[in-house]
C-alpha cells in the first residue's frame, strides 16, 4: 500500500475541493475547455521546472511511495497528476470564494 501514498494525497486534495462544483455550483468543470486551456501552460511550465529540478538534484521522489511509472524527465506519474489536480482545486476554490463574496 505504501506505493499509493502520493496518489492518496492527490485523491485527498480532489475530495477536498470537488464538492464545490455541485454544492456551490461554481461551474468550473462545466467550463472544461477553459479549464483544459488553463492546465496546458501550467503543466508545461511547472513540469519543465520539475524536470530541471530533478536533473539538478534539488529534489527526488521515493520510489517506494509512488506507483513506479516514470515519465520522460524521470518524473513519477504522480507529478503530472499533481500539476493537473492542484490547478483544478485552486480554480474551484477561487470560483467558490468569488461566488460567496458576491452574495
Amino acid at each position: 500500500m505504501r506505493h499509493l501514498t502520493y496518489l492518496a494525497v492527490l485523491a485527498g486534495c480532489l475530495v477536498g475541493a470537488l464538492w464545490l462544483e455541485p454544492v456551490l455550483r461554481v461551474g468550473v468543470l462545466r467550463r472544461w475547455r477553459r479549464l483544459l486551456l488553463t492546465l496546458l501552460p501550467v503543466v508545461v511550465v511547472f513540469g519543465a521546472w520539475d524536470v530541471a529540478a530533478v536533473a539538478a538534484h534539488h529534489w527526488h521522489y521515493d520510489p517506494d511511495q509512488t506507483v513506479g511509472l516514470l515519465l520522460p524527465g524521470r518524473l513519477p506519474l504522480e507529478e503530472l497528476l499533481f500539476f493537473l489536480v492542484v490547478p483544478v482545486c485552486a480554480v474551484l476554490g477561487y470560483e467558490a470564494v468569488r461566488k460567496v463574496l458576491r452574495r
Binding site: V9, C13, V42, H60, D62, V86, Y94
Partner: protein
C-alpha cells in the same frame, strides 16, 4: 541555480504574468487574497504529508534549510507561483470569452 533562487524567480515570473503580461491583476484584488489562505492551508496539509513521510526529498544544498510543516520554505513560493499562474490564466481566458464569459473586471 539553487531551489531557493528558482523559487524567487518563480514568484517573480508569476507576478509579472499576473500584473504585466495578462493584466489580470489578481494580487491587487480581494478574491485572490481570500482564496490564497485556503489554498495555502491545503498545501500545508498535503505537502506536509508528502515531505513529512519522505515521498519528496530535498538536497540540503539546494535549499535554505528553513522548514514549514516539514517542507522547505521554498515550497511555499513554488505553490504561490503555481496557483497564481493557474488562476491568472483561468481569469484571462474567462475575460477572452472562452466558455461562458465572466462579468468583466470582477476580481
Amino acid at each position: 541555480m539553487t531551489y531557493t533562487a528558482a523559487a524567487v524567480l518563480g514568484v517573480a515570473g508569476a507576478l509579472v504574468l499576473d500584473l504585466v503580461v495578462l493584466r489580470t491583476r489578481l494580487v491587487a484584488g480581494r478574491v485572490w487574497w481570500a482564496t490564497y489562505p485556503i489554498v495555502l492551508a491545503g498545501q500545508l496539509v498535503s505537502n506536509g504529508i508528502l515531505t513529512g513521510r519522505g515521498v519528496v526529498r530535498y538536497d540540503p544544498a539546494a535549499v535554505l534549510g528553513v522548514r514549514v510543516a516539514y517542507a522547505p520554505v521554498e515550497d511555499l513560493a513554488f505553490g504561490f507561483a503555481l496557483v497564481l499562474t493557474a488562476l491568472s490564466v483561468w481569469v484571462w481566458l474567462g475575460r477572452r470569452g472562452v466558455d461562458a464569459p465572466d462579468p468583466p473586471r470582477r476580481r
